[in-house]
């Protein structure tokens, strides 16, 4: 029986095609579900496959990521009626990826007013640096409605610098130190001094040896990461911490991801599955 009679498709063929499409669709759905489950199984601590859900909505709340209560008033001093504005001066040649990640975590926890400025010492910056903190908040015309301000200024500075309370605090320099400050707004450092030191030690390793080190030093760090990740799922133990954020961003920055050893590769995928590193990855494109 020919398929086309009088220039029209045979209805029987149409029905067959429809059934075929339906089966294909179900197969794809099944495949996606299995892949999602597979990722969840291989990622320690993940409640759900965030890479899928994060593509569906931009407001993913992963409040379970950091446990422990923090109070802005205790940490930053009493609210005197003015927006508590954290000012970060960064050089556009070295964007601080870990701070962008911490910013998105802060935005999920508090009402953060984020603004990006270009200082007059810099002639121009690429557009992705202007939008690196995400779209402008709808209420950004009313500064007093926010709990925290995050002002990123692209400026010709030799070293990254943070200013908060000009009267009571001297400026904080270096991405590692600013990362420590911002992290403490999310969760307290581990109470156990050994654990806290471990986190600090990874931070320093990441920023000094991985980013600023020679090829030899970098290779050594990757080996160290590999052996640590062989023992525990995350760098400082069973829980995701600032150490993981910092090391992941530095690995990304130095472009060592592709050539990293096995445990590190697995850990990189786990990090990505958590969905926090979107801003950092976007910037490097």
């Amino acid at each position: 029986m020919p398929m086309y009679q009088n220039g029209e498709v045979d209805p029987a063929v149409k029905a067959l095609e429809a059934r075929q499409d339906e089966i294909m669709r179900k197969l794809y759905e099944l495949k996606a579900a299995v892949e999602g489950l597979a990722k969840t199984v291989t990622t320690p601590d993940a409640d759900l496959d965030l890479t899928v859900s994060s593509s569906l909505s931009s407001q993913v709340c992963s409040s379970s990521t950091f446990k422990g209560t923090t109070d802005l008033d205790t940490l930053l001093g009493k609210d005197l009626g003015a927006l508590r504005d954290i000012v970060i001066n960064a050089n556009p040649a070295q964007p601080p990826l870990s701070l962008l990640v911490l910013h998105s975590l802060l935005s999920q926890r508090y009402r953060v007013l984020s603004t990006v400025h270009v200082h007059s010492s810099v002639t121009s910056v690429p557009p992705q640096l202007l939008s690196c903190l995400g779209p402008r908040h709808a209420d950004s015309y009313a500064r007093h409605m926010f709990q925290l301000g995050f002002t990123l200024i692209w400026k010709d500075v030799p070293k990254l610098q943070m200013k908060f309370s000009v009267q009571n605090m001297c400026p904080i320099e270096g991405e590692a130190n600013v990362a420590r400050f911002l992290f403490k707004l999310l969760a307290p450092y581990p109470a156990d001094p050994a654990a806290a030191t471990l986190v600090d030690s990874w931070l320093d390793t990441a920023f000094f040896q991985l980013v600023e080190g020679s090829t030899k030093e970098r290779a050594a760090v990757l080996r160290a990461l590999n052996s640590a990740l062989g023992r525990t799922p995350w760098l400082s133990g069973p829980e995701f911490s600032l150490a993981d954020i910092a090391c992941y961003c530095c690995v990304l920055r130095t472009g060592s991801a592709a050539s990293a050893p096995a445990n590190v590769q697995r850990w990189i995928k786990s990090c990505e599955n958590l969905g926090h590193f979107g801003p950092a990855k976007l910037l490097l494109q």
Binding site: G81, A82, V166
Partner: protein
């Protein structure tokens, strides 16, 4: 006495007299001899002068230029005198900045605005001794026409703007002679104050400079300042025109005081009197109600304020903006701040030479800004001041010292010399300011600051006739006097806002100068009406 004695005495007298007479005669003879010598010398000199002045036609004071003839002579600009023109014979017209004779040579510095070049007349086959003497005696500031050949120099001439060449003069004529005694010396006028004190050399005080403005404006610093000011005006116009704004002209003779009675100049107007406009406010708004949507105007503003401060003038140039907006007055703030940022960028990128020239005499920190402009709320500003120890109420206005302190605090935290303070308390703003929709204590108004000093006061204006009448009554303003103003809003008025800046103040603060009279060509203040 005996006759003989008397005779003797007379003889003595006679002898004395004749001695005197002889002395006198001798002296006269000497005098005559000297005179004769001199005369002889002069005639000899004159003879030599007349004999040896082969260069008589190549210098002098020609007849005043009364357009006797149309010479097709090309005059080269001093700034174009570069090694490329080496060995060319050129004509130029410039001022004599200095002239100094040294034996058989005379060194001159010829100046044209910011540029100067070394020139030299030397006794040789082209110039005579008399010519060199003439050149050395030309008074400073005289305008001369010079024909010279351009020569490359081995060692850079550090003191001139044209460092790689010098002129060897063949002909020099004085087109306009300056009087010998100048009221001020240009070198003194350009000398930084500190240097003057240290080295014991003169500087010129501001009043002398302003009294002799024509000469003071010739200095490199003044030339740079006013070229930069011209740039500000140009950038203001260009930026706004590109944003779709229309330039308007508003009347300056008006019938009623716009801002609030006290500080207006009165003029006699035929049988009645009128006022000089304190700001183009009313007319800008009327243009918006007349559907011009976005307007700006550049024109004089007259404030009869008896303030003798470093930043007040009685007449200044106002750059004013007014625009209709869609839903929120921040659209207006964004437009104004973007215009200011474009002006700052334009100055930073195209006027570095002028900025450096001014900094030589008046050193200052370069002007810094952020893009987009930093906007803080009034409550934030008050909190920052309170943190620094200032005591003030929530609805108090900012005093000038507090404004300066806040400027310093903002500079320390954000490293910017330009920012906006938004949401001022309603109580301290004019009657036509739109109140905040949620909090009656505050208003939709803002001030902008440069280096801690206010340069712009603006707001969303009340576009509803009834609310305007209520607010005016609340401020105890005579409604009769502002009837035509309120009438403008009775026939459909869009929501709108704007603000105005003073050209002189913006230039002063951008360059980091300390007195607005330095950026006003012929300033007007309570004590100065001339030049």
């Amino acid at each position: 006495m005996t006759k003989e004695a008397v005779q003797g005495a007379t003889e003595e007298e006679q002898q004395a007299q004749s001695k005197k007479a002889m002395k006198k005669q001798q002296k006269e003879a000497e005098k005559a001899a000297k005179k004769a010598e001199k005369q002889a010398k002069l005639t000899a000199e004159q003879q030599t002068t007349e004999e040896d002045d082969f260069a008589k036609d190549r210098y002098g004071v020609p007849a005043m230029v009364q357009s006797q003839q149309k010479l097709d002579r090309e005059l080269v600009r001093v700034q174009d005198l570069t090694p490329e023109k080496a060995d060319q014979l050129i004509w130029l017209r410039a001022r004599v900045h200095t002239s100094r004779a040294k034996g058989k040579q005379c060194f001159l510095v010829l100046r044209q605005q910011q540029f100067n070049v070394q020139a030299l007349v030397a006794v040789g086959d082209r110039a005579s001794k008399q010519m060199v003497k003439f050149a050395a005696n030309i008074t400073k500031e005289s305008i001369v026409d010079v024909e010279a050949s351009v020569r490359k120099v081995e060692q850079k001439i550090e003191s001139c703007s044209q460092q790689d060449v010098e002129l060897h003069i063949e002909r020099i004529f004085v087109v306009s002679q300056a009087e010998a005694r100048l009221p001020l010396q240009l070198e003194d006028a350009v000398r930084p104050d500190g240097e003057g004190e240290e080295e014991g050399r003169a500087t010129v005080n501001q009043d002398t400079k302003l009294d002799n403005r024509v000469i003071d404006l010739r200095t490199t610093t003044s030339q740079a300042i006013f070229r930069l000011q011209s740039g500000v005006c140009q950038l203001f116009r260009d930026t706004l025109t590109n944003k779709g704004f229309v330039e308007i002209q508003t009347p300056k003779i008006i019938s009623a005081a716009s801002e609030g009675g006290a500080n207006v100049f009165t003029v006699s107007y035929f049988k009645t009197s009128a006022y000089l406009a304190q700001s183009p406010q009313l007319y800008k708004q009327m243009c918006i109600c007349a559907d011009f949507d976005k307007v700006f105007c550049v024109g004089p503003v007259f404030r009869a304020e008896d303030s003798n401060t470093h930043r007040h003038l009685t007449e200044f140039v106002g750059l004013d903006i007014e625009m209709a907006f869609n839903y929120h007055y921040h659209e207006v703030i964004d437009s104004i701040t973007d215009t200011m940022v474009q002006i700052f960028k334009g100055l930073r990128d195209n006027f570095q030479t002028e900025i450096q020239t001014v900094n030589k005499q008046f050193p200052s920190e370069p002007f810094k800004f952020l893009e987009p402009t930093l906007r803080l709320e009034y409550t934030e500003g008050v909190a920052m001041l309170r943190e620094a120890g200032v005591e003030m109420g929530d609805e108090d206005d900012l005093s000038t010292p507090n404004e300066k302190l806040l400027g310093r605090l903002v500079k320390e935290k954000y490293d910017t010399d330009f920012y906006v303070l938004d949401k001022y308390p309603l109580a301290v703003r004019p009657f036509y300011t739109m109140p905040d929709p949620n909090d009656p204590k505050y208003s939709n108004s803002y001030d902008m600051f440069m280096r801690g000093e206010e340069i712009l006061s603006g707001a969303q204006r009340i576009h509803d006739a009834q609310l305007l009448t209520d607010r005016a009554t609340h401020h105890q303003i005579d409604l009769e006097k502002i009837k035509s103003y309120i009438d403008s809003f009775r026939f459909g008025a869009p929501p709108h806002g704007g603000g105005g800046i003073g050209l002189e103040r913006v230039c002063m603060l951008y360059l980091g100068l300390h007195n607005v009279r330095q950026t006003s060509m012929f300033p007007r203040d309570p004590k100065r009406l001339t030049p």
